[in-house]
């Protein structure tokens, strides 16, 4: 799994590439702990993620809690249908605002 970041329409975009599971999730969690600081709203770009395990989904909730604590918006971007469906039936989906792609993010100044 690779992580890259960019600023997109005023959002702090975190691009995730590859499978998110117990073996890779530590990198994402560490990044969240160290670099999400509340200066910009956060967009987690998951369009390059084919599969997300239970541990991965839990990290999304961690990110949700962290951004809530910092009072910044969080959006998920580019979720695959399969991941979105897994999130729906296990109750994770309801916590998030989801956009189809980065272009759909509402611009933030």
């Amino acid at each position: 799994m690779n992580l890259t970041t960019s600023t997109h329409s005023g959002w702090h975009a975190i691009h995730v590439d590859g499978q998110v599971d117990s073996k890779t999730v530590g990198t994402l969690r560490d990044y969240i702990d160290q670099d999400v600081n509340g200066s910009l709203p956060v967009a987690l770009d998951l369009s390059g993620v084919p599969f997300m395990s239970s541990a991965g989904l839990r990290t999304l909730l961690t990110l949700h809690r962290r951004t809530k604590e910092l009072a910044v918006d969080l959006a998920l971007v580019g979720l695959s249908d399969a991941i979105a469906e897994t999130m729906r039936v296990t109750g994770f989906y309801d916590y998030f605002v989801v956009y189809a792609d980065l272009q759909s993010l509402p611009p933030r100044s």
């Binding site: 599971d21 117990s22 073996k23 395990s53 239970s54 541990a55 989904l57 839990r58 909730l61 469906e85 897994t86 729906r88 039936v89 296990t90 109750g91 994770f92």
Partner: protein, 701 residues
Amino acid sequence: MLIERIDALPTDEIGGLKVRPGKPLPFGVSHTPNGLNFSIYTSAGTACTLVLFRRGDDEPFAELPYPAHYRIGDVFCMVVFGLDSEDLEYGFRIDGPHNPTAGHRFDPSKVLMDPYARLIAGRDLWGELPNWERNYPYRARISFDDFDWEGERPLEIASEDLVIYETHVRAFTQSPSAGTKHPGTYAGLVEKIPYLKDLGINAIELMPIYEFDEFENSRIHPESGERLYNFWGYSTVGFFAPKAAYAATGQFGMQVDEFKQLVKSFHRAGIEVILDVVFNHTAEGNEHGPTLSFKGLDNKTYYMLTPEGYYFNFSGTGNTLNCNNPIVRNLVLDCLRYWASEYHIDGFRFDLATILGRDPWGAPLSNPPLLESLAFDPILSSCKLIAEAWDAGGLYQVGTFPAFGRWGEWNGKYRDCLRRYLKGDEAQVGQLAQRVQGSPDLYRPSGRSPATSVNFITCHDGFTLADLVSFNDKHNEANGEGNRDGGDDNHSWNCGAEGWTEEAGIKALRQRQMMNAMVMLLTSRGTPMLLMGDEFGRSQRGNNNAYCIDSAISWVDWTLLESNASLHQLVKALIAFRHQHPALRVNQFDGPGSNLFPSCSFHGTQPWSPDWSDQSRQLAWLMSCNLPEPQRGVDAIYVATNMAHYASWFHFPSLPIGFRWHLCFNTGDHEQPCHPAEPALDDGGILVGDRSVVVLKAMAI
């Protein structure tokens, strides 16, 4: 300042992994600082090895024998550090004597599943043929017990206010006609919540969802070539784990979250979740069955054994769990506490519950400690406890089940009496009067209340309602046992032709009979229970024991919802009517009644004069209570039932000036049985058609 705990660090190394002595409680796996605690009980085992697999691997990546000083009493416990808990599957090998006549069946070549496993992998997709050679088929995993309930809690609806709906996770939505995105799963069931809420039920009772083996006794039907399964699931593999193959996300190991989301969704819709739990036996069968867990862990503790070491078979399925052994008792208690606290389950229905009251040699106990423990448990105090008060060993305890003031019962006598009355058997009205008021003959002497009685006419076991009025005899050929299986005491009547018919008169009578059954059930005191799909005439084609059928025979056919719309509308209206009328839900015998009438009174064609003779096939009941503040006033419901083959004029019990009887339901008109409480055409009485039921309520003019 956070001080690091000493036990956050290992003390030893075994099998290449860092470890330290663990804690004996809780049993199973628990998280400790930096590690996982593995605790397992065996009284006669002499040595234990923890076996660790990476997910799905046939061969373990580590085997860790417990050192002698890692054993406390009869419990082996060890903390292992540095494990990837999501990718881990674990089991145990136990060494000890292999001496079946003494009750011991230890075999260290077998990897055994943790009886406290909360997440079980290995059989994630329904009906996928297992690899029978696999040494460790059901594989314990570590679950995340961190679900966010967002403040949701169990509903605690009073038992007398419940309308229970019995269903089977897979059968309910597996048919394409269900139109669900996730057929046959927990998620599919959630998709049907709007339907269930609209129907008006407020409790769903799920047939077994603990991990079970659908391939237990699986075989191919000799004629149809169809595979037969253990479809119902009354044979537990793991008491703490939801069945993976019932989860749309089972292949991702997310059944725990999916099932919790189910409970949360039902609770948000105001519907309780009751689990049908099977503690009387396990999937390990008898001496010829597989060794999955208990048999190799401590056979003599967990099972009732004959003096020669064979398995007692009070369950009719090969073995009997030794529920009044203190170790097993604690397992059952731990299990229910876990489901009540971790899954917010509202109640439990205990399959063949009288077995839970037998001593280790099978004799019925007068004061069974397990039943008492459950009744007084602080964590289970608001859970419904419902017994199926009989077992396959011949113990029948409807009315005498040791209830400790807490237990409800599936009332088999209600079912039999209502069925017999419905089909016009003679000598039923006396007993019917007992049944519709909550069976005081059974429950009053021991100080119990009407809601003790779970009233039902049909359940998963036996005919569906449509089949009850369409078949005189069972037709279980699809089960592949030459129609020998299933009960013969169905008290059913086919209304003139066996099975499918185009004869309009017979079809109309069947409709009326289904409606009659529903009206009587939903106007009886006690807790009514409906079987899935009966509200729109679901049929199993005359099969009264479809335990092994995973096909359209068992699956709910949702096209019937349209073709039997008037029945569905009636049931929906009846449930709403029951919720609106407290007189039907009074939960005391000899209640004070209302300003107009006694709490419950019986009538015949003449008011206050029921015909109790054996030839009588007519009975009316009038239930009444004063309405609580702020409504005030009187609730009075009059139900006149005529199971004779001729119409009769029923004179109403008279009402004081200012009140009139209003007609709410009349099954005599089976196309339009529901009436919007219109004044009765005649103040003096009403003509009740042959094999018909009417319901009226007293209203101030």
